[in-house]
């Protein structure tokens, strides 16, 4: 059966959109001849040439600023910020420009850029290469944020991001690039934003996650199954917009909800989802929702220390058992 890797999904999405639309072009550090720091633009420089696959200086601020400017003129730039930690260097362009130009122009301007970037947690990358800025990004009105876990979703969502007129931050996950899925049927060409995907059906609790957290949630769900606890796993796929209907539907059915996130706990994705649950279906839940998140500390280098602060399948199992009313 044909397989698709998370990395090849990125390459295929970029390739197909560049072939389809001459206004799509790529730029960023090492995206050209080298084919990307994570080999996610491999082959594209040779196919499309230096005008459409541009290596840039180490200038995150100018990369995102230029992507905004090119996009408001109607082009569809895909800018790469090599690690999501580096978004700190272009934060102004994201929070004050990309997200606001449509609004402040009263709808006259559409900054239709896509910014691809990469989360890393669990590879001893140190605190400046282990960014997980998704909660901060979804906090910004006017930015769309995708954080897929599955290769099919990577392809469909990246293509949808490029075609969308919205500014999109597309968060990939370095630990998933080698992940493969079997393509048992033709993958959908585009995946809609704001539609969570049920990874696994269950009836005792709902585990909600995205990006690298989905793999942890699925592993925990297998362990829980063996212990007689049936966990539903929902992959949010996009964080802005969030599939609020899908989240509420599943949680209302299982009456127990647990969020797994690789971003830190305070003001995180889980905080937002749990607030949503409390506001909308709080009285219908059997137990207060829980979250398993990274601890509120910078990411340490040592694998032992890093594992201590990160969400793990074991931590998810323990939280799920508590939620299900079992003795941990």
């Amino acid at each position: 059966m044909p397989q698709l890797s998370y990395r090849d999904a990125v390459i295929q999405a970029l390739d197909e959109e560049m072939a389809r639309d001459p206004d799509v072009f790529l730029f960023g550090q090492d995206v050209g001849r080298m084919g990307g720091n994570f080999a996610t633009t491999r082959g594209l420089f040779g196919r499309y040439g230096p005008d459409r696959v541009r290596d840039t200086a180490i200038s995150e601020d100018a990369i995102v600023g230029a992507a905004i400017g090119a996009s408001v003129c109607g082009l569809r730039p895909v800018a790469e910020i090599m690690f999501s930690s580096f978004l700190g260097c272009c934060w102004d362009e994201l929070i004050n420009h990309a997200s606001q130009l449509h609004y402040v122009s009263n709808g006259a301007i559409s900054p239709r850029l896509t910014i691809r970037t990469v989360n890393v947690l669990g590879r001893s990358s140190g605190c400046h290469h282990s960014g997980r800025p998704e909660a901060a990004l979804m906090h910004i009105p006017g930015l769309a944020v995708a954080a897929p876990a599955d290769p099919r979703d990577v392809k469909g969502l990246l293509k949808a991001s490029i075609r969308s007129d919205n500014p999109v931050v597309f968060i990939e996950n370095a630990l998933l690039y080698g992940e493969r899925c079997e393509i048992d049927q033709p993958a959908p060409d585009l995946v809609e934003f704001g539609q969570a995907r049920t990874v696994r059906n269950g009836s005792d609790l709902t585990i909600l996650s995205y990006s690298g957290g989905v793999r942890i949630a699925v592993a925990a769900a297998s362990v829980l199954q063996a212990q007689g606890i049936s966990a539903e796993v929902l992959d949010l796929r996009t964080l802005a917009p969030l599939d609020t209907d899908g989240i509420l539907r599943s949680a209302a059915r299982t009456k127990r909800a647990l969020v797994v996130e690789e971003d830190v706990r305070t003001c995180g994705v889980g905080a937002e989802i749990i607030a949503l649950l409390c506001e909308q279906v709080g009285g219908d839940l059997d137990r207060p929702p829980l979250r398993v998140a990274a601890a509120d500390v910078p990411v340490p280098f040592s694998p032992v220390l890093e594992e201590a602060i990160a969400p793990t399948a074991l931590k998810v199992v323990l939280a799920a058992r508590r939620l299900a009313g079992e003795a941990a």
């Binding site: 541009r54 200086a57 601020d61 003129c73 004050n96 420009h97 402040v104 909308q280």
Partner: protein, 337 residues
């Protein structure tokens, strides 16, 4: 390359009248906005561009349809000089529904995309990256369009300045970086904040760097002409410093207690409008009767702009939720309010 340009020598009567008409419109418009502000009719705050008219007009007079500009936080004049309707501009400054952006931007974010004016970023230096990207789009499409990024000398020390100029120079992008050097970043004089010679900044990127008398419209136009032609012809970016000492406060209401009063008076005396009148009269390009007619016409335009703005409705409160995302399919339509 450093050029201290003198006024261009040849000028037709119609050119002189066009330049004067726009400078006068900006001056009277700004005087009207100051008056409205002092009467508490303008929400927020304004940064009038009185004394900068020669730069705004000298540069924008050279632009064509399809070119792009971003204004500074002192940007009313730059927008007017690109042809933005004074009535819609004044309505925007008053926050009215009929404003250029329906009251979402106000004075600090002035723009009008149908005239190629990107909403201003009053984050000092905030437009440098975006305008560099617009220049990239012109190059990508080979449409001979040009981007002009107005910014103040305060932006010279932002990281965005270095990143943008390096990118534009590396890729030979069609852009003019137009620095309106008024000598002050609110209360901090440039000499206390900015190292090195200004034009050396251009030399560092291997692009032309020029200084123009920012109070002389012909000098401004003359220097900008070569830079814009160069950009249009694929010759890459330029950096021009328009020497334009600030005669008035940073914003309306700033009494400038931090400055030597004599310095303020000197700056005010270098007024580009009387200078242009004098020079054009000496060249027999304008008569006193034509000057009176110009003043009368301008007053009429500004008065009707103010009347239009003042009689325009406020935006409907419900529209505050519109235009967050261009594409509602991937926007927040499912977010409960």
């Amino acid at each position: 390359m450093t050029v201290h340009a003198d006024a261009v020598t040849h000028l037709e009567k119609q050119d002189a009248l066009r330049l004067l008409r726009m400078m006068l419109l900006i001056r009277r418009f700004e005087e009207a906005s100051v008056e409205l502000y002092q009467r508490n009719l303008i929400p927020g705050f304004i940064h009038p561009g009185i004394g900068e008219e020669a730069v705004h007009v000298g540069v924008c007079d050279l632009l064509q349809d399809g070119d792009h500009v971003i204004a500074t936080h002192r940007g009313h004049g730059q927008a007017l000089a690109r042809g933005v309707d004074p009535a819609a501009l004044m309505a925007e400054i008053l926050g009215r529904a009929t404003g250029t952006q329906g009251g979402r931007g106000g004075s600090l974010h002035i723009g009008d995309w149908k005239h190629g004016v990107l909403p201003a970023s009053p984050l000092v230096g905030g437009g440098l990256g975006t305008m560099t990207g617009i220049a990239l789009a012109h190059q990508y499409r080979r449409d001979r369009g040009v981007a002009v990024c107005f910014f103040g000398d305060g932006a010279l020390n932002r990281g965005s300045f270095h990143e943008a100029l390096n990118m534009a120079a590396s890729w030979q992008l069609p852009i003019l970086y137009a620095c309106i050097d008024n000598g002050w970043a609110i209360s901090v004089p440039r000499r206390a904040s900015t190292a090195g010679e200004l034009v050396a900044r251009a030399q560092a990127y291997g692009i032309p760097g020029m200084v123009a008398d920012g109070k002389n419209v012909l000098a401004c136009r003359g220097v900008a002409e070569s830079a814009i032609a160069r950009a249009r012809d694929g010759g890459g970016p330029s950096l021009i410093f328009f020497d334009c000492p600030r005669g008035y406060g940073h914003e309306e209401g700033d009494s400038q207690g931090y400055r030597d009063p004599a310095d303020i008076e000197t700056a005010k005396l270098r007024d580009p409008l009387p200078h242009a009148y004098r020079e054009f009269a000496e060249r027999n390009l304008i008569t006193p009767a034509e000057q009176a007619e110009l003043e009368f016409q301008t007053d009429t335009i500004v008065r009707s702009a103010v009347e239009f703005a003042m009689s325009s409705p406020n935006p409907e409160a419900s529209t505050a939720f519109d235009h967050v995302f261009p594409d509602s399919r991937s926007g927040p339509s499912q977010m409960p309010r």
